[in-house]
Structures are given as structure tokens and as C-alpha cells.
Symmetry: none
Subunit: 226 residues, 4 copies
Amino acid sequence: MKDQQLRKSWKQDADGVKRDILSVAMAEFAESGLAGARIDAIAEKTKTSKRMIYYYFGDKEGLYIATLEAIFERVLHEEAELDIDGMMPEQALASFVEFVFDQHRNNPDLIRVVMNENILHAKYMQKSEIIGSQNVTLTRRLERIIERGQAQGVFREGIDPMFIYWQMQAQAFYNVSNRPSFSTKFSPKFFDKEGQAYLRAEMVDSILRYVRVCDDDDRARDGTTH
Amino acid sequence: MKDQQLRKSWKQDADGVKRDILSVAMAEFAESGLAGARIDAIAEKTKTSKRMIYYYFGDKEGLYIATLEAIFERVLHEEAELDIDGMMPEQALASFVEFVFDQHRNNPDLIRVVMNENILHAKYMQKSEIIGSQNVTLTRRLERIIERGQAQGVFREGIDPMFIYWQMQAQAFYNVSNRPSFSTKFSPKFFDKEGQAYLRAEMVDSILRYVRVCDDDDRARDGTTH
Amino acid sequence: MKDQQLRKSWKQDADGVKRDILSVAMAEFAESGLAGARIDAIAEKTKTSKRMIYYYFGDKEGLYIATLEAIFERVLHEEAELDIDGMMPEQALASFVEFVFDQHRNNPDLIRVVMNENILHAKYMQKSEIIGSQNVTLTRRLERIIERGQAQGVFREGIDPMFIYWQMQAQAFYNVSNRPSFSTKFSPKFFDKEGQAYLRAEMVDSILRYVRVCDDDDRARDGTTH
Amino acid sequence: MKDQQLRKSWKQDADGVKRDILSVAMAEFAESGLAGARIDAIAEKTKTSKRMIYYYFGDKEGLYIATLEAIFERVLHEEAELDIDGMMPEQALASFVEFVFDQHRNNPDLIRVVMNENILHAKYMQKSEIIGSQNVTLTRRLERIIERGQAQGVFREGIDPMFIYWQMQAQAFYNVSNRPSFSTKFSPKFFDKEGQAYLRAEMVDSILRYVRVCDDDDRARDGTTH
DNA sequence: TATGAATGAGGCTTCATTCAT
DNA sequence: AATGAATGAAGCCTCATTCAT
């Protein structure tokens, strides 16, 4: 899209070929995982040939890692668009939760690739230098929301922002990753349009109740009713 | 229950062989998934030969399904040991959450197999007739806890027990399934002994805060502080 | 069927078991040939177990040969029922042809087993002592019909009865054996009920025309029209 | 017809490799049938490796179908060389019969492959789009011979050319296909050089007698001598 | 006489990768 | 920069047959 004019005489520019391969690879790795994906299948859906995959990415693992990094980079861009700095703490937190929920829901490929990574004990994520150092931004912003809420006296003390972030991730991720098994084993009711809206709202509610100041906070720790 | 006594004189022990194969297969499928597991690798770790795997389970898929069902059956048995009926509602709910958390934590094989199933869109879980009809018991018990709590006035109205169950599952599952990626991308701090204890406690707290009656419930829905 | 009374106390008599196995084997070998038939498949359709097949017949080849011989014996019995001795020569010959045609048509299993034998270069038929010495009877009877016709002046001289027999066999056999390929490559029109009746009638007609005295016999040999 | 000249510089010769594989496969499938043939055996007799069979033909069935089609194509080419249009009807018909007889006799591989196909109920012939639509030419030519003979008054009316074709095929095919069993069960006398010449001549004679006008045609239908 | 368990050899097929041009 | 041809290693599975009781 950028400098195509300069290269017009070439049939395809190198970047275009790479991007083409990557986008096909992403779909394949997301669908079948590293072991399950087939180089042949990827090559066939590509505009170029199998040889080019090896030319540009070395081997299957190289292509896989490139795919992984491309996905995380895409996600990073999305996160930059979250605009909550002007909101009141509760509203900001609610929007934050909704954003995380939606982000996962709208990126099933990301989820599936991460699922696969976890099956491989995150072997390739660890190898990548890009991925590890990424998500500081988002957690920082969450910290600031919590701090603001506490300063305003609407959020209680003793909250670990990272735990809240973990909890959000858990639910947002699980909502996509385990939909097949949960539907099968328990109930599909949360996965139609209404069900998803309900889940999203309750997730917000649940986290707000977790951070909010409540008179009876003495009851909270021991789990008894006085 | 069986006529094993009659067969004791046989050198062969079909059930033993099958169990042996299954336990090896469970580990292999958990580690590598359906596609990644190697029949040869399973056979080698077995007391018997590769041929016997085919004799008893037909093919790789047959073995995989048998493994799946064995795992879910094992889990079912564990659930029968949860004893919370005599407790007060809050205590019962707390114990329930802790049980779910521990159950997942202590069965990483189960988690990994389910992860794999989800990558396969739960294809084989759906095929199995055993798995679908299982988990009524546990959700029923949760329903009763909630009802009791509401009757006693300690839990608020408008709670869907299934959502609480979903939320528990999400966190308990994610805690095991996504540990590698979360550790890598964010922080490993929740995954040592103390971190796990913290996570478990906050999970309980979070859910109790979600169900508990709170004076300011009018604030809950719109997310403002008026 | 014979001495079942004597053996009533036994669950199954040896002959019954053997006959049971043989009848199943015949169907399997007819359908799939020696290489294609599966001992397991045969055993499953049998009232007894796989082990019994080996007990009674030694191995797969042994069972195959036994099947072969049983089939030829059955055919031999059928031939004994052909009753044409009182007929006039033309009528007798016509009946003979029809008999051969029907006999093949009604024994597709025989045909398929012989097809398979021919693929194996009749290896097992040659081994069998029973089969080789069988079909003298039928060819003798054909010889006698021809001789009678010649004596009565209705059949011409210079006919080899064995050729006529060969020609009948060829058509009667081909009608069953090559029905699938002929239907596919040329036309299925000869294989419905009417088509078969037509084929049968023309076969008779053709052979009668071949043996019958004809004024223009001088034309016959060189294939010219004078 | 092809651009082989352009590729002459390549070490690889895809068409040559394919043809090599096909010719070996033809012999193997002819000898052992689809089930009996061994990919390993084929590969060994080939200039290339087993892997290349899969590269070019996909799987065993793919190779089998390719073999089937190659054989039928070869036969088609042979048929194009039959030159009988200038002959008188009887002579043309005689030559036609001889051609069919010789064609079968000289292509035992074809016969054996078709035998095998018939054992498989012509399953793969039906799949092939090439084979079904082929043999119109030859039957058309036979029709025209008959018509010419009838127009000239040397052939009688009421003849179905397709039946004659069927009859020729039956005998020409059976002569090759059932030689082993016929030799074993009846007599080998038709299968040496003289025997084959005799069979061929009588086949011609028999068919000419079938089509020729004969004074006594009133006798033909009821089979009596009055 | 009867049976379920066991087996070794060999079959078909797939895969990521490299070669030659 | 690009491509069709080629490959070895390894995977899954099937078969007739035998063993132990």
C-alpha cells in the first residue's frame, strides 16, 4: 500500500509476498497449531510457492514465530486505541473490562494461537524478544485507574491491579478458548448474542463489586456471616 | 463388580493392559495433543506392544476418545467427594470455589486435554455420549447453595448460578492453561506457592463480593458514583 | 442334518461347524478373492471363533481350497439334474445351451471364485485332485447329442463338440463375469430381465446355426460371397 | 505437441518418470490386482522412488485409475488401425472378428486388469470419465458392416450388431481370461498355437453362419426339424 | 473342543525439507 | 527471485497367525 509505485515494474514486492504468506500462515496455525498446520496447505493458499516460504522464513518454526510476533503486534496496535483517560474511575474500569472482553472476542485467531503456545509451554513466545516486553502499557493504565479510584475513595484499599488484570484476561480468554468444551459439557446459553452481552455485563459488575468500598468489608476475609 | 476372581488364573489381564495403555496415553495426549502424540511413543512406555493398542482401541482416535472419557470419569469421581452440605452458605460457596480451583490445579492433564479438545472445536467430546450428560450434579449443588444463601438473606437476588460456575471455571482453568503465556507476557508472580494461595483467596473473595448483599446495590448497575 | 440326534448333547457337531465356516468363506472369497478376503471378517460372520478356522482348515489357503472344492462339488450335483436324453438333437442341444447359461447365471459365487482362480493362474484348482477329473460327464453328453444329430442328418460334419462347449462356456461365463465392465463401457441393455432372455435365445440360435446343415456350406470356409 | 524441447535441459523428466511408473504399475496390477499389488514392489522396479509414486499419483487408487485409463487409451489407439472399410461385408466382418480376437490375445495385461475390475464390480471404471465414453467408434463400424451386408442381401435381417459385438468380446475375452481354469478343468488343447488358430477360425465361421442368409431360416426359431 | 489375548512383519501414506535449473 | 521435481524419515494401521488356558 505504501511504496507500490516505486516497484510497479516488479510482479510482487518482497514485503507483499511476506505479508501474503504470513496472513495465510496465521489462519493455518490458528486452526491447527504448530504441529497440525501443513506447509503444503499454507503454500497452496498463498499466491507464491512453497519454496518462497523457506526462502523468507527459513523453516516451519521460523514461519510460526514470525506469525506469533505479527499477531501480538497487531494486538498492540488495537490497545493504543483505548481511550479512557478522561473518565471517572468506575466508568474507566468498566470500559477497560469491556475493551478486554471485546478484544479477545474479536481476535479468535490470537486466542487460538496463544492456546497452542500454552500447549507448547510458551516455548516460542519465550524465544521472541518482541513479545515479552510489550504489555506494560495496558497494565500501567489499569494501575492508574485503580489509584485514581482509591484517591477518590470509591475503590477500597488492598487491591492488586495485576490480579484484576489476570481475572479479566482469564474470563475474556476463556470465553473464546473454551467455548466449544463449555457448550458441550454444560450449556451453550452464554454463547449466543444475548448470552455474550450478559456475560460481558456481569463481568463488569463482578469486577466493580470486587474493587468497590463496601460497609461490610470486615465480613469479606473470613467467609462467615458474623 | 466383575469376575476377576474367575480369571485370576490367566496370565493375561486385559483390563490391566487397557488401564496401562490408557494411563500412558493420557500423559502423551496431554503433552502433545491428538496430532502431536505418537503411537510409537505411547507403545514404548507401555508394558505391551503397539499392536495391542490397536487391538483394544482400534485406532489413534479410538484411543484418544477412550482417554478423554477416562479423564472425565476420574474428575466425576473426585467431585463426589466434595462435602459442603452442612455448611453455611458463604462458607459452602467459599469451599466450592476452593474445590474447583484445586481440582483444576491438581489435574493439569485434564486441563491440557481439554485445551487440545477446544483447539479441535470439542469434536471428540461431542462424539462421546458419556461426557455430555455428566456435570449436572455439581451445578445443581451450586444452585442449592445460592438458594440457601438467598433464603437466609446473605446473598442478593438476581444471580445466575451458572454464571458463577462459568466464572469459577474460567479462572480455575486459565490459572493452569495459560500459566506459560501469562508468565512470559506479564508476570510469573502468581504462579509460585504464595502467588497461588493469593489467587485462590482473591478468587473466593471476588465471588463472595459478587453474591453478597451490599447496601449500595443501587450503584451497581450503572457504574457511576452519583 | 444327518446324525444330529446322536450328538444332541453337543452344542455343535464338527460337520456343522465346518459347513458353517465354508458357507461364510465362500461368500467372502467370492466377493473379495483370496488376497482380499479377511480371516477376521469370515470369523466374525461365523457362529464360531477364528481359532476354529485354523483348527479345521489349517490356514487361509487351506480354507480357500476347501471352499473351491465345495463349490465345484455343488455344481457337479446340479449337472446331474439335466435331463435331455429323450429329446431330439436340436432340442437337446438347445436345452443344453440353456442349462449352461442358467447354471452360470444362477451361480455368481462360482463365477467370481473362478475369476479369482484365473487371476491366480488356476494355481489352486491345479492342486486339487477333485476338480480336474470332474467334468467329463457333461462334455460326454454333449458329444453324444452331436453324434445323434449327425446320424440323423440334421447336424453337419466337422464339428468339434469341445469347441461348442468352449463357446457356450465363454458366453455363459462372460455374461456373469464381465457384466460390470460391459455395462460400464458399452451398454447395460443386455442385463435386465428382457436383455438376458434375448441373450439366452440368441446364444441358442447362434449355436444351432453353427451346427445345422446349410446348403451354402461351400461359402462358409473362405468368408467370401462367391 | 508438447514443449519437451524447452525442457530438454532439465535433468528431471516428469513425463518420463510418470510413464515409467505407469508401465511398471500396469504389470503389477495386471499380475496381482489392486489389493494384491505392492507399492513397494512397484517402486523397486521403477527408476525412481516410492515417494514419487505418491507425488505423481496421490495414492494407490490414484495410480490404479491412471493405469486403467492408460490401458484403455492404448487399446483405443490400436483400434484406430483396423482397416476394413474397403472390404466386402463378409470379409469385413471376418476381419473384424479376427481383429477383436487378436487384440485380446495380444493384450493379456488389459484382460487381467479388466478381470480385476470386474471383481471390484467395475468400481473404478465407473469413476473414470475417460473410459465410459470411448468405444462408440468400434461398435459403429460394426453396425455399418452389418447394414452393408443386409443391403447386399448377404446378411439376414433381425440382427442386433451389439449382440454380435458382445459375443465376439465374450469369446475373445474368455479365451485369455479363463485359459488357466479351462485348461485345468477340461482340456489344454485349444491353447497351443494350432488350437488358437482353430478357435479363431471357428469363431469367425460361427459368427458368419449366424448372420448369413440361409434357406431354412424357418427352422431357426423353434429348434425343431419337423 | 474352544476362546480371548497376543504378536511381528509388512503395508500404505505423510511430512518438512532440499535440489537443480 | 522463483519453481517443479525429488527425497528420507517416520507415521499410522492391517494381516495372518500363534499362545496360554
